[in-house]
């Protein structure tokens, strides 16, 4: 039993080793991807280019304008309305703040509000939201200072003093990177393995294997073990790059991380093998893996797009995507550390999906050709 299993595993490992693409996916891809996610995708806008049109030159306005220049997040250009509109059209600034000529006048009259116009570039909604947020922030600062200078209490009843937990500087990198290894695990687990059983059928080696006394479980386990080990190595590389190169804080335990990775990998491997066994055709299996594993883990796992901001039906769909639990667990482990009740729920769901996919594969794996 173990001799045959060992022989099959050895064969599989040699095949992985001789196929440059699997080594590429396991070692090079994680590094490249993490660097792209670490530096390329950045949902924060640390230096916003903002245009400022000041048509009123009262003392209050001067102080308000000064509050923009004080911010490390905003890079301000001052100009006329026409200049700034052009700059916005050219993409040189991401938003324009207009302070109209009657600003001071209206401010003096308590019965009226003094409007400030914010024009943002709606073609990049994410940045547009940032512009709005920053300007409101600057507005708040100015109001507070104005009130203090006059010796009045804050005009607004509520004063917001925000602090981000788990990710104090609210860097998007810190939550994207931990989840991004889901992509690598999926490519390795589902896409690569979707090819391996189908390949045996296509090259006619399956028939030769079936004519020997190997059992179903020996065959399946020999497909799982080598790819599982490859996945774990790849995950360790991911963590290494994230922590040491990208300086993403890691607060959980390595052991727990490996446990979570183990069950996510098993479920991805299960799906890959299932597709491969069901289609017996490399092209179909790869297509299936792309649609059933890769795209959902990219879009519905919550690693880039937050699940809570999706429409309800889509949110419900994410509950059957194993990647969701993996991303959630990884984010917990990196940012919050060991939170048992959260982690065990995720691990439980991953175990269930591993059993489901591997079990179904075992059922579909036939000992005969008909």
């Amino acid at each position: 039993m173990f001799r045959r299993l060992y022989a099959l595993c050895r064969k599989e490992t040699l095949q992985i080793w001789r196929d440059p693409s699997s080594v590429l996916i396991a070692v090079v891809l994680p590094v490249v991807m993490l660097l792209i996610f670490g530096f390329g995708i950045n949902l924060d806008s640390s230096q916003l280019r903002l245009g400022l049109v000041v048509e009123d030159h009262g003392a209050e306005v001067q102080r308000f304008v000064a509050s923009f220049f004080g911010s490390p997040y905003i890079n301000v250009t001052v100009g006329t309305r026409a200049q700034m509109e052009q700059a916005l059209a050219d993409g040189k600034v991401r938003g324009v703040v207009v302070i109209a000529s009657d600003f001071t006048q209206r401010l003096e009259r308590t019965s009226e509000t003094a409007p400030v116009q914010i024009i943002t570039d709606g073609s990049e909604p994410n940045t547009a939201n940032f512009v709005e947020g920053y300007v409101k922030g600057a507005w708040q600062v100015w109001l507070r200072e104005r009130a203090a200078a006059r010796g009045e209490p804050m005009p607004a009843a509520v004063q917001i003093d925000s602090r981000f937990w788990f990710n104090p500087s609210a860097l998007s990198r810190n939550y994207i990177i931990p989840g991004s290894s889901t992509i690598i695990m999926t490519v390795l687990g589902a896409l690569l393995t979707s090819l391996v059983v189908a390949r045996e059928w296509e090259r006619g080696t399956m028939e030769a294997l079936l004519a020997t006394s190997i059992t179903r479980s020996e065959f399946l386990i020999s497909k799982v073990i080598p790819y599982y080990l490859l996945g774990i190595v790849s995950e360790l590389i991911c963590i290494g790059v994230a922590v040491f190169l990208l300086k993403v804080p890691f607060r959980g335990s390595i052991l727990m991380t490996l446990l979570v990775t183990t069950f996510f990998l098993l479920s991805a491997l299960g799906l890959g093998l299932l597709l491969s066994t069901a289609t017996r055709n490399q092209f179909d299996a790869a297509q299936g893996a792309l649609n059933a594993a890769f795209l959902p883990s990219m879009m519905l796992s919550g690693f880039i797009f937050e699940i809570s901001s999706m429409p309800l039906p889509v949110q419900l769909v994410t509950y059957v995507i194993p990647a969701r639990y993996f991303v959630n667990a990884m984010q917990t482990l990196f940012q919050a550390g060991y939170v048992p009740q959260l982690l065990w729920r995720d691990v439980g769901c991953l175990i269930a999906s591993s059993i489901f996919f591997l079990g179904l594969t075992a059922r579909l794996t036939k000992r005969r050709l008909d």
Binding site: R3, A7, K11, E207, A208, L210, S213, D370
Partner: protein, 490 residues
Amino acid sequence: MAIVALKGLSKRFEGAEKPALNQLSANINAGLVTGLVGPDGAGKTTLMRLIAGLMAPTSGSVTVDSLDPIRNAKELRDVIGYMPQKFGLYEDLSVEENLELYADLRGVLGEERRETFARLLEFTDLQRFTKRLAGKLSGGMKQKLGLACALLGHPKLLLLDEPGVGVDPISRRELWRMVQDLVGQGLAVVWSTAYLDEAELCQEVILLNEGSLLFAGAPTELTARVKGRTLQLRHFPGNRRHLLTRALRRKGVIDGVIQGRNVRILLAPNEKPPMPTDLNSRNGAEVVEVKPRFEDAFIDILGGGPGGDSALAEHLKPVTSERETVIEAENLTKKFGDFAATDDVTFSVSRGEIFGLLGPNGAGKSTTFKMMCGLLKPTSGSARVMGIDLKTSAAQARQRLGYMAQKFSLYGNLLVRQNLDFFSGVYGLSGSHQQRVISDMIEIFGLQQFLDRSADTLPLGYKQRLALACAVMHEPDFCFSTSRPRALIR
């Protein structure tokens, strides 16, 4: 002694109209080679798989060494060695690693393993290549490695599924010799083949056609049935093809082929041989009885060959002058780096000739073809088609040739009709002329029933017909075909 007994064995696949195997009863004996013979789709592979326990019969029974292949699957696997088509090798593992894998799976270990490996490597003459990847071996060497892997353990029954396909004749002969050795040691060998020359060499054959058993026994016994019915027409003047057509039109002549300068014919039972005068010939011509071959007997049991008139020949424009040279190769040489794929090849082909290019794998046949079609540039020498040099005006020359490639170059997921439309378009046919040519092709090649099926699902013989139809639709001056000759498709 019978090692395999088939009793009323049938196998029907879901959704198939006809059973793949129909009520088969036969025995396979130890100590000799049993040929499993029949055209593609006859059910040879299915039968092998049933014997190997890879499929369960629909009805009837198989016993192998008094074991039931399904119920006693575990014990059965120690009794049989099975080499599937394509040999079942891992191309990215070396020769040694392939052997080790199958040895581990079959439980050949320790001292026994060392000894077995040494013996098999010597037997197959692969000692020098143990470190080479199986994918880098030639067809013949792959086949020998496949055989070695199937021989690990101590099988009593060796099943070889079309071992002769894709392997050159020299390697095939070598394998045959090796199999004879094994048989001498008391093994039973089943060798499936569609080649009748291979079948003739087997001590016994099981002849299948469309899932039914036509004959089981010694090939000589079958051949004896056509004794006295095979004749050669010698020294006939004039065109041999016309003579063949005339002969085949006669009642009682069920098959005929051109053999060198003569024509060979097969008579139906109890028919008198024709006199030379019956075939309008003058003096000197004679009709001689010749030794029957297995092929004659096979055609006889199938109920005769195709008729004398070729529908395709009637469609194509008759050739005007017989002696005109259409293809010329002069000192044709192609080098890939230091390696000369073809070296100094010179030949010429005239109109109305079938010109065969023979050689083992890697002899340079395909390279020559590709140069003649203008797909490859010769390193030196010249290739001319109708006097047009392919070096300078390949496109012009290509318009005049038809090409049927080894793998048929059909679009497998297009319908037969769409393939015809596409290829006629590519060759520049259009309008009513195109429609007429397509409908002619459908009629000539009998494709009507398959028009709305995708090309992939056609039986092999019809795939070949479709490929030929696509190659000759534009009435080329000559046609290249790189398909390997198949003994049973004519």
